[in-house]
Assembly symmetry: C3
Protein backbone atom coordinates (compact mmCIF):
# COMPACT_ATOMS: atom_id res chain seq x y z
CA UNK A 1 0.00 0.00 0.00
CA UNK A 2 2.72 2.37 1.05
CA UNK A 3 4.37 3.75 -2.07
CA UNK A 4 7.76 3.49 -0.45
CA UNK A 5 8.70 -0.05 0.53
CA UNK A 6 10.33 -0.66 3.88
CA UNK A 7 14.03 -1.44 3.59
CA UNK A 8 15.77 -3.32 6.36
CA UNK A 9 19.32 -3.12 5.03
CA UNK A 10 21.56 -0.33 3.90
CA UNK A 11 20.47 0.34 0.32
CA UNK A 12 22.87 -0.28 -2.57
CA UNK A 13 24.99 2.66 -3.73
CA UNK A 14 23.02 5.12 -5.80
CA UNK A 15 23.89 5.56 -9.50
CA UNK A 16 26.44 8.38 -9.83
CA UNK A 17 24.31 10.08 -12.47
CA UNK A 18 21.67 10.70 -9.80
CA UNK A 19 23.97 13.22 -8.15
CA UNK A 20 23.34 15.89 -10.80
CA UNK A 21 19.68 14.92 -11.02
CA UNK A 22 19.27 15.34 -7.27
CA UNK A 23 20.80 18.79 -7.53
CA UNK A 24 18.38 19.71 -10.30
CA UNK A 25 15.53 18.33 -8.24
CA UNK A 26 16.54 20.36 -5.23
CA UNK A 27 16.66 23.53 -7.31
CA UNK A 28 13.21 22.76 -8.68
CA UNK A 29 11.72 22.10 -5.24
CA UNK A 30 13.26 25.27 -3.84
CA UNK A 31 11.97 27.31 -6.77
CA UNK A 32 8.40 26.09 -6.28
CA UNK A 33 8.57 26.54 -2.50
CA UNK A 34 9.75 30.09 -3.05
CA UNK A 35 6.86 30.81 -5.46
CA UNK A 36 4.30 29.44 -3.01
CA UNK A 37 5.82 31.43 -0.15
CA UNK A 38 5.39 34.57 -2.24
CA UNK A 39 1.76 33.65 -2.89
CA UNK A 40 2.39 33.03 -6.60
CA UNK A 41 0.09 30.03 -6.66
CA UNK A 42 -0.89 30.80 -10.26
CA UNK A 43 2.59 29.70 -11.31
CA UNK A 44 2.13 26.18 -9.95
CA UNK A 45 0.24 24.59 -12.89
CA UNK A 46 3.10 25.69 -15.16
CA UNK A 47 5.21 22.89 -13.70
CA UNK A 48 2.80 20.10 -14.62
CA UNK A 49 2.12 18.08 -17.77
CA UNK A 50 -1.44 18.03 -19.11
CA UNK A 51 -2.29 14.59 -17.75
CA UNK A 52 -1.26 15.14 -14.17
CA UNK A 53 -2.29 14.49 -10.61
CA UNK A 54 -1.93 17.02 -7.83
CA UNK A 55 -3.25 16.09 -4.44
CA UNK A 56 -2.88 16.92 -0.77
CA UNK A 57 -3.81 13.89 1.31
CA UNK A 58 -3.35 12.70 4.89
CA UNK A 59 -0.85 9.94 5.55
CA UNK A 60 -3.58 7.87 7.16
CA UNK A 61 -5.80 7.96 4.09
CA UNK A 62 -2.87 7.51 1.72
CA UNK A 63 -1.46 4.50 3.55
CA UNK A 64 -4.89 2.87 3.77
CA UNK A 65 -5.51 3.50 0.09
CA UNK A 66 -8.47 5.74 0.82
CA UNK A 67 -9.14 8.28 -1.91
CA UNK A 68 -10.28 11.05 0.43
CA UNK A 69 -7.78 13.78 -0.42
CA UNK A 70 -8.04 17.23 1.13
CA UNK A 71 -7.25 18.74 -2.26
CA UNK A 72 -7.48 16.68 -5.43
CA UNK A 73 -6.76 17.83 -8.97
CA UNK A 74 -6.91 15.35 -11.83
CA UNK A 75 -5.42 17.02 -14.90
CA UNK A 76 -3.94 20.43 -15.43
CA UNK A 77 -7.30 22.11 -16.14
CA UNK A 78 -8.65 21.10 -12.76
CA UNK A 79 -5.46 22.33 -11.14
CA UNK A 80 -5.73 25.69 -12.94
CA UNK A 81 -9.42 26.01 -12.00
CA UNK A 82 -8.70 25.23 -8.41
CA UNK A 83 -5.92 27.80 -8.22
CA UNK A 84 -8.12 30.48 -9.74
CA UNK A 85 -10.97 29.61 -7.38
CA UNK A 86 -8.64 29.91 -4.43
CA UNK A 87 -7.52 33.34 -5.55
CA UNK A 88 -11.06 34.60 -6.06
CA UNK A 89 -12.39 33.38 -2.76
CA UNK A 90 -9.57 34.57 -0.60
CA UNK A 91 -11.38 36.37 2.17
CA UNK A 92 -9.45 34.92 5.03
CA UNK A 93 -7.36 36.61 7.64
CA UNK A 94 -3.87 37.56 6.48
CA UNK A 95 -1.34 34.86 7.13
CA UNK A 96 2.13 34.03 5.94
CA UNK A 97 3.15 30.56 4.91
CA UNK A 98 6.74 29.41 4.57
CA UNK A 99 8.10 26.14 3.20
CA UNK A 100 11.03 24.21 4.57
CA UNK A 101 12.06 21.42 2.23
CA UNK A 102 14.57 18.82 3.35
CA UNK A 103 16.00 15.71 1.78
CA UNK A 104 14.88 16.13 -1.83
CA UNK A 105 16.01 12.92 -3.50
CA UNK A 106 15.53 10.54 -6.38
CA UNK A 107 13.94 7.26 -5.35
CA UNK A 108 14.13 5.48 -8.69
CA UNK A 109 13.93 6.07 -12.43
CA UNK A 110 11.62 3.81 -14.44
CA UNK A 111 10.74 4.13 -18.12
CA UNK A 112 11.89 7.71 -18.14
CA UNK A 113 9.80 8.60 -15.10
CA UNK A 114 11.69 9.98 -12.12
CA UNK A 115 10.21 9.04 -8.77
CA UNK A 116 11.31 11.54 -6.17
CA UNK A 117 10.52 12.59 -2.64
CA UNK A 118 11.31 15.27 -0.07
CA UNK A 119 10.21 16.19 3.41
CA UNK A 120 8.27 19.40 3.75
CA UNK A 121 7.23 21.60 6.63
CA UNK A 122 4.97 24.59 6.18
CA UNK A 123 4.86 27.22 8.90
CA UNK A 124 2.06 29.71 9.34
CA UNK A 125 2.32 33.15 10.89
CA UNK A 126 -0.82 35.03 11.82
CA UNK A 127 -1.30 38.39 13.45
CA UNK A 128 -2.19 37.21 16.93
CA UNK A 129 0.32 34.47 17.63
CA UNK A 130 3.82 33.13 17.13
CA UNK A 131 4.53 31.10 13.98
CA UNK A 132 3.34 27.52 14.18
CA UNK A 133 3.75 24.36 12.19
CA UNK A 134 0.81 24.20 9.81
CA UNK A 135 1.71 20.99 8.04
CA UNK A 136 4.44 18.37 8.06
CA UNK A 137 4.70 15.67 5.46
CA UNK A 138 6.42 14.51 2.34
CA UNK A 139 6.17 14.97 -1.37
CA UNK A 140 5.65 11.83 -3.44
CA UNK A 141 6.43 12.98 -6.94
CA UNK A 142 6.74 11.60 -10.45
CA UNK A 143 8.50 13.72 -13.04
CA UNK A 144 9.46 13.52 -16.70
CA UNK A 145 12.02 15.46 -18.70
CA UNK A 146 10.83 17.40 -21.74
CA UNK A 147 12.80 20.03 -23.65
CA UNK A 148 15.53 19.78 -21.05
CA UNK A 149 13.33 20.62 -18.09
CA UNK A 150 11.59 18.58 -15.44
CA UNK A 151 7.79 18.48 -15.34
CA UNK A 152 5.48 16.95 -12.78
CA UNK A 153 3.27 14.04 -13.74
CA UNK A 154 2.29 13.73 -10.10
CA UNK A 155 2.77 15.67 -6.94
CA UNK A 156 1.20 14.12 -3.89
CA UNK A 157 1.60 16.03 -0.66
CA UNK A 158 1.15 13.40 2.05
CA UNK A 159 0.85 15.10 5.40
CA UNK A 160 1.42 13.59 8.84
CA UNK A 161 -1.23 15.69 10.58
CA UNK A 162 -4.09 13.52 11.79
CA UNK A 163 -6.70 16.20 12.08
CA UNK A 164 -7.91 18.03 9.02
CA UNK A 165 -5.39 20.77 8.52
CA UNK A 166 -6.88 24.04 9.66
CA UNK A 167 -7.17 26.63 6.96
CA UNK A 168 -5.63 24.48 4.27
CA UNK A 169 -6.74 26.72 1.48
CA UNK A 170 -3.77 26.90 -0.84
CA UNK A 171 -1.50 24.45 -2.65
CA UNK A 172 1.41 23.22 -0.60
CA UNK B 1 7.48 47.49 -2.53
CA UNK B 2 8.19 43.84 -2.09
CA UNK B 3 11.76 43.16 -3.16
CA UNK B 4 10.69 39.95 -4.86
CA UNK B 5 8.20 40.47 -7.65
CA UNK B 6 5.25 38.12 -7.94
CA UNK B 7 5.56 35.70 -10.82
CA UNK B 8 2.49 34.09 -12.30
CA UNK B 9 4.20 31.74 -14.73
CA UNK B 10 6.89 29.15 -14.46
CA UNK B 11 10.11 31.13 -14.54
CA UNK B 12 12.58 30.72 -17.41
CA UNK B 13 15.35 28.15 -16.96
CA UNK B 14 18.10 29.39 -14.69
CA UNK B 15 21.57 30.01 -16.14
CA UNK B 16 23.65 26.82 -15.78
CA UNK B 17 26.47 28.78 -14.13
CA UNK B 18 24.17 29.46 -11.19
CA UNK B 19 24.37 25.81 -10.20
CA UNK B 20 27.90 26.12 -8.79
CA UNK B 21 27.08 29.53 -7.36
CA UNK B 22 24.05 28.13 -5.55
CA UNK B 23 26.24 25.42 -4.06
CA UNK B 24 28.72 28.01 -2.87
CA UNK B 25 25.89 30.07 -1.43
CA UNK B 26 24.49 27.08 0.42
CA UNK B 27 27.89 26.35 1.93
CA UNK B 28 28.20 29.97 3.01
CA UNK B 29 24.76 30.05 4.58
CA UNK B 30 25.37 26.78 6.40
CA UNK B 31 28.73 28.03 7.68
CA UNK B 32 27.21 31.19 9.13
CA UNK B 33 24.25 29.32 10.61
CA UNK B 34 26.69 26.94 12.29
CA UNK B 35 28.70 29.84 13.74
CA UNK B 36 25.61 31.52 15.14
CA UNK B 37 24.37 28.23 16.60
CA UNK B 38 27.70 27.92 18.42
CA UNK B 39 27.30 31.46 19.75
CA UNK B 40 30.23 32.76 17.68
CA UNK B 41 28.44 36.00 16.90
CA UNK B 42 31.77 37.88 16.83
CA UNK B 43 32.57 36.09 13.58
CA UNK B 44 29.55 37.56 11.77
CA UNK B 45 30.99 40.97 10.79
CA UNK B 46 33.87 39.13 9.08
CA UNK B 47 31.48 38.21 6.27
CA UNK B 48 30.51 41.78 5.41
CA UNK B 49 32.07 44.53 3.31
CA UNK B 50 32.73 47.90 4.99
CA UNK B 51 29.70 49.63 3.49
CA UNK B 52 27.09 47.12 4.47
CA UNK B 53 23.58 46.79 5.79
CA UNK B 54 22.55 44.20 8.34
CA UNK B 55 19.02 44.29 9.62
CA UNK B 56 16.36 42.13 11.21
CA UNK B 57 12.93 43.43 10.28
CA UNK B 58 9.34 42.19 10.35
CA UNK B 59 7.71 41.26 7.08
CA UNK B 60 4.92 43.71 7.76
CA UNK B 61 7.28 46.65 8.15
CA UNK B 62 9.47 45.54 5.26
CA UNK B 63 6.57 45.10 2.83
CA UNK B 64 5.09 48.48 3.80
CA UNK B 65 8.46 50.15 3.40
CA UNK B 66 8.60 51.11 7.07
CA UNK B 67 12.11 51.53 8.39
CA UNK B 68 11.38 50.20 11.87
CA UNK B 69 13.82 47.30 12.04
CA UNK B 70 14.22 45.25 15.22
CA UNK B 71 17.96 45.29 14.68
CA UNK B 72 19.59 47.72 12.25
CA UNK B 73 23.29 48.06 11.47
CA UNK B 74 24.43 50.52 8.82
CA UNK B 75 28.09 49.80 8.09
CA UNK B 76 30.48 47.23 9.47
CA UNK B 77 31.48 49.36 12.49
CA UNK B 78 27.92 49.54 13.71
CA UNK B 79 27.59 45.80 13.21
CA UNK B 80 30.79 45.16 15.19
CA UNK B 81 29.68 47.51 17.98
CA UNK B 82 26.31 45.86 18.17
CA UNK B 83 27.82 42.40 18.40
CA UNK B 84 30.18 43.48 21.18
CA UNK B 85 27.37 45.17 23.07
CA UNK B 86 25.32 42.01 22.87
CA UNK B 87 28.16 39.97 24.25
CA UNK B 88 28.76 42.34 27.16
CA UNK B 89 25.16 42.63 28.20
CA UNK B 90 24.30 38.98 28.06
CA UNK B 91 22.61 38.46 31.38
CA UNK B 92 19.69 36.46 30.12
CA UNK B 93 18.62 32.98 30.96
CA UNK B 94 20.56 30.27 29.13
CA UNK B 95 18.98 29.29 25.86
CA UNK B 96 20.03 27.44 22.75
CA UNK B 97 19.26 28.68 19.28
CA UNK B 98 19.45 26.54 16.17
CA UNK B 99 19.14 27.56 12.53
CA UNK B 100 17.38 25.62 9.82
CA UNK B 101 18.09 27.08 6.40
CA UNK B 102 16.16 25.88 3.38
CA UNK B 103 16.10 26.85 -0.25
CA UNK B 104 19.23 29.00 -0.49
CA UNK B 105 19.17 30.28 -4.05
CA UNK B 106 20.35 32.95 -6.44
CA UNK B 107 17.59 35.32 -7.50
CA UNK B 108 19.56 37.38 -10.01
CA UNK B 109 23.01 38.77 -10.73
CA UNK B 110 23.25 42.45 -11.63
CA UNK B 111 26.43 44.49 -12.11
CA UNK B 112 28.43 41.92 -10.21
CA UNK B 113 26.01 41.91 -7.30
CA UNK B 114 24.44 38.57 -6.43
CA UNK B 115 20.90 38.80 -5.10
CA UNK B 116 20.11 35.73 -3.08
CA UNK B 117 17.53 34.40 -0.66
CA UNK B 118 16.82 31.48 1.64
CA UNK B 119 14.18 30.51 4.15
CA UNK B 120 15.28 30.38 7.75
CA UNK B 121 13.79 29.00 10.94
CA UNK B 122 15.39 29.54 14.32
CA UNK B 123 14.39 27.29 17.19
CA UNK B 124 14.92 28.14 20.83
CA UNK B 125 15.40 25.69 23.68
CA UNK B 126 15.15 26.90 27.27
CA UNK B 127 15.40 25.05 30.52
CA UNK B 128 11.74 24.88 31.38
CA UNK B 129 10.09 23.91 28.13
CA UNK B 130 10.29 22.02 24.86
CA UNK B 131 12.03 23.67 21.92
CA UNK B 132 9.87 26.21 20.12
CA UNK B 133 10.01 28.17 16.91
CA UNK B 134 11.55 31.51 17.76
CA UNK B 135 11.54 33.04 14.32
CA UNK B 136 10.56 32.13 10.79
CA UNK B 137 11.45 34.23 7.81
CA UNK B 138 13.72 34.70 4.88
CA UNK B 139 17.08 36.19 4.12
CA UNK B 140 17.18 38.91 1.47
CA UNK B 141 20.86 39.18 0.65
CA UNK B 142 23.17 41.00 -1.71
CA UNK B 143 26.69 39.69 -2.12
CA UNK B 144 29.83 40.50 -4.07
CA UNK B 145 32.86 38.40 -4.90
CA UNK B 146 36.28 39.64 -3.78
CA UNK B 147 39.51 37.65 -3.73
CA UNK B 148 37.54 34.57 -4.71
CA UNK B 149 35.15 34.68 -1.77
CA UNK B 150 31.62 35.95 -1.30
CA UNK B 151 30.98 38.93 0.99
CA UNK B 152 27.71 40.42 2.12
CA UNK B 153 26.75 43.91 1.04
CA UNK B 154 23.36 43.35 2.64
CA UNK B 155 21.73 40.78 4.81
CA UNK B 156 18.13 41.51 5.67
CA UNK B 157 16.40 39.00 7.89
CA UNK B 158 12.71 39.48 7.18
CA UNK B 159 10.68 37.56 9.70
CA UNK B 160 7.07 36.43 9.44
CA UNK B 161 6.31 36.81 13.14
CA UNK B 162 3.81 39.59 13.68
CA UNK B 163 4.57 40.28 17.30
CA UNK B 164 7.95 41.61 18.30
CA UNK B 165 10.10 38.52 18.61
CA UNK B 166 10.59 37.74 22.28
CA UNK B 167 14.16 37.86 23.41
CA UNK B 168 15.54 38.70 19.98
CA UNK B 169 18.92 39.68 21.33
CA UNK B 170 21.38 38.14 18.92
CA UNK B 171 21.98 38.25 15.18
CA UNK B 172 19.98 35.71 13.22
CA UNK C 1 34.77 20.30 26.39
CA UNK C 2 32.64 21.29 23.45
CA UNK C 3 33.70 19.24 20.45
CA UNK C 4 33.39 22.27 18.20
CA UNK C 5 35.70 25.14 19.16
CA UNK C 6 34.34 28.66 19.19
CA UNK C 7 35.60 30.72 16.27
CA UNK C 8 35.61 34.49 16.47
CA UNK C 9 36.73 35.26 12.94
CA UNK C 10 35.53 34.25 9.52
CA UNK C 11 37.04 30.82 8.97
CA UNK C 12 39.59 30.26 6.20
CA UNK C 13 38.28 29.10 2.82
CA UNK C 14 37.33 25.45 2.81
CA UNK C 15 39.33 23.01 0.65
CA UNK C 16 37.67 22.76 -2.78
CA UNK C 17 37.64 18.96 -2.53
CA UNK C 18 35.20 19.24 0.35
CA UNK C 19 32.52 20.42 -2.06
CA UNK C 20 31.96 16.94 -3.51
CA UNK C 21 32.35 15.37 -0.08
CA UNK C 22 29.70 17.67 1.37
CA UNK C 23 27.36 16.65 -1.42
CA UNK C 24 27.99 12.98 -0.67
CA UNK C 25 27.44 13.65 3.01
CA UNK C 26 24.16 15.40 2.34
CA UNK C 27 22.96 12.46 0.26
CA UNK C 28 23.92 10.07 3.04
CA UNK C 29 22.16 12.11 5.72
CA UNK C 30 19.03 12.42 3.60
CA UNK C 31 19.03 8.69 2.90
CA UNK C 32 19.22 7.81 6.59
CA UNK C 33 16.60 10.39 7.54
CA UNK C 34 14.30 8.92 4.91
CA UNK C 35 14.81 5.40 6.27
CA UNK C 36 14.06 6.47 9.83
CA UNK C 37 10.97 8.39 8.69
CA UNK C 38 9.73 5.18 7.08
CA UNK C 39 10.35 3.31 10.32
CA UNK C 40 13.16 1.22 8.78
CA UNK C 41 15.24 1.42 11.94
CA UNK C 42 16.68 -2.03 11.25
CA UNK C 43 18.65 -0.51 8.38
CA UNK C 44 20.53 1.90 10.64
CA UNK C 45 23.30 -0.44 11.90
CA UNK C 46 24.20 -1.14 8.27
CA UNK C 47 25.78 2.31 8.09
CA UNK C 48 28.22 1.74 10.97
CA UNK C 49 31.61 0.07 11.29
CA UNK C 50 31.98 -2.70 13.88
CA UNK C 51 33.74 -0.54 16.47
CA UNK C 52 31.28 2.30 16.57
CA UNK C 53 29.52 4.67 18.91
CA UNK C 54 25.89 5.67 18.50
CA UNK C 55 24.37 7.88 21.14
CA UNK C 56 21.57 10.34 21.73
CA UNK C 57 22.56 12.78 24.45
CA UNK C 58 21.39 16.15 25.76
CA UNK C 59 23.49 19.18 24.96
CA UNK C 60 23.78 19.94 28.67
CA UNK C 61 25.26 16.55 29.48
CA UNK C 62 27.45 16.53 26.37
CA UNK C 63 28.90 19.99 27.01
CA UNK C 64 29.59 19.16 30.66
CA UNK C 65 31.24 15.89 29.70
CA UNK C 66 28.61 13.86 31.56
CA UNK C 67 28.18 10.35 30.17
CA UNK C 68 24.43 10.17 30.81
CA UNK C 69 23.15 9.54 27.30
CA UNK C 70 19.47 8.93 26.63
CA UNK C 71 20.45 6.18 24.21
CA UNK C 72 23.95 4.74 24.17
CA UNK C 73 25.29 2.01 21.91
CA UNK C 74 28.95 1.03 22.08
CA UNK C 75 29.70 -1.21 19.13
CA UNK C 76 27.55 -2.45 16.30
CA UNK C 77 26.21 -5.45 18.22
CA UNK C 78 24.77 -3.23 20.93
CA UNK C 79 23.25 -1.01 18.25
CA UNK C 80 21.67 -4.03 16.54
CA UNK C 81 20.35 -5.37 19.85
CA UNK C 82 18.90 -2.05 20.76
CA UNK C 83 17.12 -1.70 17.43
CA UNK C 84 15.64 -5.18 17.71
CA UNK C 85 14.53 -4.53 21.29
CA UNK C 86 12.82 -1.35 20.18
CA UNK C 87 10.95 -3.20 17.47
CA UNK C 88 9.79 -5.96 19.79
CA UNK C 89 8.58 -3.67 22.53
CA UNK C 90 6.70 -1.24 20.36
CA UNK C 91 3.39 -1.00 22.16
CA UNK C 92 3.07 2.74 22.04
CA UNK C 93 0.43 4.88 20.45
CA UNK C 94 0.86 5.35 16.70
CA UNK C 95 2.91 8.38 15.85
CA UNK C 96 4.77 9.69 12.83
CA UNK C 97 8.24 11.10 13.01
CA UNK C 98 9.83 13.22 10.31
CA UNK C 99 13.39 14.45 10.01
CA UNK C 100 14.48 17.85 8.76
CA UNK C 101 18.22 17.99 8.22
CA UNK C 102 19.90 21.31 7.52
CA UNK C 103 23.50 22.37 7.03
CA UNK C 104 25.20 18.99 6.60
CA UNK C 105 28.87 19.87 6.36
CA UNK C 106 32.42 18.65 6.77
CA UNK C 107 34.17 20.13 9.81
CA UNK C 108 37.62 18.64 9.24
CA UNK C 109 39.39 15.56 7.90
CA UNK C 110 42.06 14.02 10.10
CA UNK C 111 43.92 10.77 9.49
CA UNK C 112 41.28 9.64 7.07
CA UNK C 113 38.46 10.37 9.50
CA UNK C 114 35.83 12.82 8.34
CA UNK C 115 34.35 14.93 11.11
CA UNK C 116 30.95 16.19 10.04
CA UNK C 117 27.88 17.85 11.47
CA UNK C 118 24.33 18.85 10.58
CA UNK C 119 21.37 20.36 12.32
CA UNK C 120 18.38 18.11 12.78
CA UNK C 121 14.76 18.63 13.75
CA UNK C 122 12.38 15.75 14.30
CA UNK C 123 8.67 16.41 14.26
CA UNK C 124 6.07 14.13 15.78
CA UNK C 125 2.46 13.76 14.69
CA UNK C 126 0.00 11.94 16.93
CA UNK C 127 -3.67 11.29 16.53
CA UNK C 128 -4.97 13.90 18.94
CA UNK C 129 -2.92 16.97 18.15
CA UNK C 130 -1.10 19.01 15.54
CA UNK C 131 2.49 18.06 14.68
CA UNK C 132 5.02 19.29 17.21
CA UNK C 133 8.77 19.57 17.44
CA UNK C 134 9.95 16.43 19.22
CA UNK C 135 13.65 17.11 19.15
CA UNK C 136 16.06 19.75 17.90
CA UNK C 137 19.80 19.27 17.89
CA UNK C 138 22.82 18.45 15.86
CA UNK C 139 24.66 15.42 14.63
CA UNK C 140 28.31 15.14 15.65
CA UNK C 141 29.64 12.47 13.34
CA UNK C 142 32.88 10.74 12.45
CA UNK C 143 33.04 8.77 9.23
CA UNK C 144 35.53 6.72 7.26
CA UNK C 145 35.56 5.66 3.63
CA UNK C 146 35.71 1.95 2.82
CA UNK C 147 35.08 0.34 -0.55
CA UNK C 148 34.07 3.72 -1.89
CA UNK C 149 31.31 4.35 0.62
CA UNK C 150 31.08 6.33 3.83
CA UNK C 151 30.59 4.50 7.14
CA UNK C 152 29.94 5.91 10.57
CA UNK C 153 32.50 5.46 13.30
CA UNK C 154 30.41 7.72 15.49
CA UNK C 155 27.03 9.34 15.36
CA UNK C 156 26.20 11.47 18.36
CA UNK C 157 22.80 13.12 18.33
CA UNK C 158 23.16 16.07 20.68
CA UNK C 159 19.76 17.53 21.38
CA UNK C 160 18.94 21.01 22.67
CA UNK C 161 15.89 19.93 24.66
CA UNK C 162 16.49 20.36 28.38
CA UNK C 163 13.86 17.98 29.62
CA UNK C 164 14.14 14.30 28.84
CA UNK C 165 12.61 13.93 25.44
CA UNK C 166 9.17 12.43 25.78
CA UNK C 167 8.74 9.12 24.10
CA UNK C 168 12.27 9.01 22.72
CA UNK C 169 12.07 5.37 21.85
CA UNK C 170 13.66 5.12 18.44
CA UNK C 171 16.97 6.13 16.88
CA UNK C 172 17.09 9.68 15.60
Amino acid sequence: MNAIARTLERPAPRPPEWRALSEELRDLYDEIADLLDRDCIEALPGYFVEECLYQVISRENHDQGLPAATLYCDGIRMLRDRVLALRETQVYEPRYWRHFVSGARVLRVEDGVIHATANVMVTEAMSDCEPTILLVGRYNDRLVRRDGRLWFVERSVIYDNYRVVRSLIAPV
